[in-house]
């Protein structure tokens, strides 16, 4: 019996509900699954926990009123024009619960989840206010040397959502640029939604970045990371980033932007 995992953008987020947790792949403005992020922004789902090395993805979902908790290793457009205005406003006002982690602590929680361990030990975070604002993160004594380490608790997201350059219908996928942490993210999550620039026949992706074992749904989405970058298929759309950044500075302007760009399309 032949199976395939291909779904359309509309049904790609089936099962996602109020209060779900989603881990978004990519890095800042790079190779973000923006087509699916916009699909979530158009939905009626709310109170999401969003985990991301974030750029426009998290900012857009905050601006669309979808986020209850943001867990991030950073929030930055990494030199692309504009900036995360919705995130900044939400952090200053306290309207979204903000769990800032260091980059490595962000990774560590998924290393633990991917190996079904309760926590991952690290020195990262020691002595910093990352531990002050995340009081649930505890320390642990090394049973061998008595050294005190930070025990980053495992986080198993309901969904990981990533974007790749090429995939077959089974989810064997190739990422041409930096895979960032996507190969770890898919191993940490319960379900994986993957959009791809192109779908290739089975047997054509022999050197994969992500094997199909991890992938539940494959969505064909050319330009799926727009207006961000998907190396080497396309770069950042500077004009659209600037337009976004200008709109994100002001709640009313952003509402208009959402209606025109996200919901209108």
């Amino acid at each position: 019996m032949t199976i395939h995992k291909i779904v359309g953008v509309e049904e790609s987020i089936e099962g996602l509900k109020d209060g779900s947790s989603i881990l978004i792949g990519g890095w800042g403005p790079f190779r973000k699954p923006m087509e699916i992020v916009r699909r979530i922004a158009r939905s009626t789902i709310k109170d999401l926990t969003v985990l991301s090395f974030a750029g426009m993805d998290l900012d857009l979902l905050i601006g669309a009123g979808k986020v209850k908790t943001a867990i991030f290793g950073f929030v930055s457009f990494e030199g692309a024009p504009g900036g995360p205005g919705n995130f900044k406003r939400a952090r200053c006002s306290g309207s979204v619960e903000m769990k800032e982690l260091s980059e490595y602590m962000f990774i560590a929680q998924f290393k633990a989840a991917a190996e079904r361990l309760p926590f991952y030990p690290t020195r990262s975070g020691t002595g910093t206010d990352i531990l002050t604002i995340n009081p649930e993160i505890r320390t642990i004594k090394d049973p061998y040397s008595d050294e005190t380490l930070v025990a980053v608790p495992a986080f198993t997201p309901d969904y990981a959502i990533i974007h790749v350059n090429e995939s077959d219908q089974l989810g064997n996928a190739c990422i041409s640029g930096d895979p960032y942490l996507d190969a770890l993210f898919v191993r940490a999550a319960d379900k994986v939604i993957m959009s791809t620039e192109r779908i290739l026949p089975v047997g054509k992706i022999l050197e994969n970045s992500i094997s199909g074992s991890w992938v539940d749904r494959v969505v064909e989405a050319p330009q799926g990371a727009y207006p961000g970058d998907c190396y080497p298929d396309y770069g950042i759309n500077q004009k659209e980033f600037k337009r976004y950044g200008d709109a994100a500075k002001d709640p009313d302007a952003f509402k208009k932007y959402l209606n025109e760009v996200v919901k209108g399309g």
Partner: protein, 282 residues
Amino acid sequence: MADYTFNEQVVCEIARSFGPDDDFVFSSTSNCGLVGGVLAKELYAPRLQLSMGARGKSAFLNHVRYPFIVGDPPERFLETLINIEEIFNLVCRGKWCILMQPVQLDRFGYMNLSMVGDIKKPSSVFVGSRGVPDNTVNAPRILYFVPAHVARVFVKKVDFVSGLGYGKERKDGTIKWGAPAKIISNLCVLDFEGETGRVRLKSIHTGVSLDRVKENTGFDLVIQDPVPETDPPTDEELHWIREIIDPAGISRLDFLKGKDFTRVLSEIMKGTGYQTIYPKKQ
């Protein structure tokens, strides 16, 4: 002694932070750091590996000559490409040295990259602590660069601790690595007093008064008497910077904002920057 500009002084101080035994990667978030890294590799620390974004990944670069756009280094400079995961491998094993620009830095070298104001309701927020908590427990050496030395940056106590300075974690031996070694600003060079861990005025750049440094620092520095003067760039360093590594003067960009930044950047991109800052070579 040759005439020089303060961005050249900063570049030289960055380069002099490295030596022949330094066998690790140096990465930087500033133009002065990029130029200073190359100068270090050419003159002082040949084993240093220089890294920046390239071709949708990150790269190690060799014998770099500026200017070019970050992320798009010409082929001849590429040693190899690496992924972000490899960067974290290097960070965790203590082979990743970084020069960062703090939002705030306090009298014991604790660093803030996250927010200003109340920790629950900040008045302004930045990108987040990012890799600072990782680097300040792991790195072979941490360097800080402050292009505008003002009391808003050098505060008594940081509003949010992103990175460790010299406090109890280091004193009680919990954290062995990732100590800040040097802070380089447009006015002076700072380091740390051995016993107390307090920020010390190591040297002051030529032409800068002690009062100016004090007025622009929000805490009492450890001050030596007399205050040493920062060694000015040597003729050899200036030759390498001006004639070979950075003839267009990209290191100027770190000190400019708004229209001035745009103007100088466009000069550099047109290749005319050289004439506007240095006298033409006879």
